[in-house]
Amino acid sequence: MAITLKIQRFLGEKKWEQEYRLEVETGMTVLGALIKIKETMDPTLTFTASCRSSICGACAVKVNDNAVLACETLLADLLKRYASDTLTIAPLGNFTVLRDLMVDWQPKYDRLKKIKPALQPKTEFSASEGCRQSKDEFKKYSKNSECILCGSCVSECNKSNLNSKDFLDPFIFSKAAKFVADSRDKDAVAHLEPAVKDGLWKCLNCQECAAKCPKGLSPAEDIEKMRIATFEKKMSSNEGSDHAMAFYDDVKELGRLDEAKLALKTEGLKSALRVPVAYRLMRSGKLNPLEQAKPIGDIEKVRAIMKAAKEKKL
């Protein structure tokens, strides 16, 4: 069947949308279609791809506003999902566009450097004999080592959309979390500190990143784990709570949350001890700041839940 791809094009100062119509062949991926267009219709269409087997991370683009790996996404599936023969293709969000679908990774690498993105092996290990680690310890971080740096997670990250200056990209948090969870690393705090400094408490927990990651990572969950780790590592509580406040300020920027904020304030969010409690509450959905429309009559229930959270029962 024939489909129409509306592709967002960028070149120099110019920006336009261009339509291409082509026949879908069986097994044709989005990348297959882009290649077909470039080779048979328009050699100027620009995108990047290398492995065509979902492992190099070069080909992520937005289809109908959702980031996907072009090389693994079958057109037939998309047509079914959107029940339409027209798809819109655009470069990833939260990246600077270089041309058409090609985006600039360089600033991301500079940011990646901030979280000390390399193992700091414990002193009992050596380059001549390697490290020791149990299978269970390995499992704690191995998923995070599967990140292919494709950028899908940041494309629709709501926090990055609002303001990415004070917030590292989701995959960068996942990278930091990898080292925090790796039993071979001697100093989790060295990875945690920069994460805290650059937005650990500002994630909105909207789960877009986890929904978009083609490799099944969950930066959102990694962020949660690291937040908890900051308390386990007894990192300066003031810092933690300040950032928790900043988190709420961010949500506030979105223009909501009064009641929830009130409830939290009643319990005294500024007190360092309460931060993980409040945090656990949010996590478990018992105190969702955005859906707290319940009247104050429920406050006793809320307090009970918060008490449970404090006792780590949630």
């Binding site: 470039k38 360089q106 450097k113 993105p117 390697g130 149990s134 292919i148 909207c206 877009e208």
Partner: protein, 607 residues
Amino acid sequence: MSRRTFLKVGAAAGAAVVAGAYFAWPGSNIPEAVRSGSALYDVLIIGSGGAGMRAALEASKQKGIKVAVMTKMAPTRSATTMAQGGINGAARNTDTKDSPEIHAFDTVKGADYLCDQDAVAYYTEESAKMLFELDYSGIAFNRQEDGRFHQRKMGGSSYARAAYSADISGHAVLHTMFEQCLKENIDFISECQLLEIVAMNGKLSGVVAVDMRSGEMLSVPAKTVIVATGGYGRAYWVRTSNPYSSTGDGIAACLNIGIPFKDPEMVQFHPTGLASNGVLLSESSRSEGAHLLNSSGERFMARYAPKAMELGPRDLVCQSVEKEILAGRGIGEGLKAAVYLDFRHIPKAIIQERLFQVRQLALQFEGVDIFDAPAPIRGTCHYSMGGIDVVDYKTCATKIAGIYAAGECSCISVHGANRLGANSLSEVLVFGKTAGAAAAAYAKGAGYEGDKEKLKAAVAAWNRKFDETTKRSQGASVAMIRDKMAMTMWNNAGIFRNEKGLRQAMGDMQELQAMYNTCQVGDSSRTCNTAFMNYIELGNLLRLGKGIIYGGLARKESRGSHSRTDFPQRDDKNFLQHTLISKEGDGFKTEYRPVMIGQYKPVERKY
């Protein structure tokens, strides 16, 4: 309104600003000094695969040495990241009976004796150590009970020797190297495609490259250059497991300045490429016990390698697959003909733990879930044993002082006529390290002897070429010439070869070259002109393809991956030699150099 949708709506206002904020952005992919022309590198590495990054890490250990890695894409997009099965080294974690000597013997035998045994001994010695180094650098190696990294047995290995990270071992290696590069603050010259190495009268001046973003032709003076640009598998275009970037650019650049292309005919075909598009199903499939079946469900390897069965070396297994298809015992027809790879007897838990990528690829491209049905597979061009002629394995030096080569683009030669599974990743790291150390040491003791005027002249010539070729509005398209090239290479210089076919391919390539000379690029913008990039790559593939054919014609024997139906026997008397193809006028000349034989005397290979 759910929380998620609410956030989406709330954030949309912010997003609109971001999307509207498009502007031309040169970015910081290139260090300022390179753009302004004032940079002089001690060690300039071309290619950011495992070899290039490892070289950079080693070279930068030398104090006061200026190092950079140039790469044509973003740094983490390479063939290295695609490696699946594992990385060999006789670390003896899993099998204490293993040793570097046994690893060397397996490698030499796998190579069908066309490798230099002194280089192999060095390689196996170093690769055993290198696995521990990698572990210490933070790679996510799968573990065994005692807490050490676990090793699995790959095709052609006597013992369990390959450390691995599920079935994404190369990805693990590459990202570990990248992490180390970030930590060491290695300079990357990103999205810059090498066009030419400038060296005259044996003196290196530096390189010319095109900055993808601005389209500017850059000249980068350097005291030493390490070429680490990967293989040339894309000469077979669709029937290859290689990434789009494996176009042999560095080998072509070396050929142009008089460094020979060694053993070009030695191209490895991997037996288990997906039938539809050549994408690889890892060799770990077979090491985890998958069976090869023909159309009647028979495990046909019993006919060709009764002892090793599916775990025979790649060349043998691949040729067996092809023989089954030729004998009519395959499924499907033409380029889509195939046999089956069957996983159904392997516990699902094992597949989930160790072969999840394999399962995903089969599902995606063939619509087959390997839990329930066998996957259709056929040979696919996988690895380039041939490459830049390295004359000293202890330094990775080529015949031109200051130019080094490491990784798949090089021919040292460790893999001879056939590389064993999991031997490349370790070769890449061992010799990347070796080349990095040697180049840094050389640069430390040497001044810049190049000629910046020559570099400038080369830049001017490339600018003219860009304008001229991108202006054309007539002529064949790059893709059309490329597909014809792939077709003749696969049919005539593929798994089985003979005089008639190779001559046919030679004629075809000549015609294609003529078409190429007047073909159209189709995009005249200087900004991120990937069409121009593809045009340059095709030019390189045409040259290297011709090299494969030349080498194949001259080697009148069958050895390892080079299988001549008109000369089915190995001929040690005449061909225990490396082929050296070098430029002569507009054409090539063929010379030979004897193989270095050590303690393992050539005998017939049996598996």
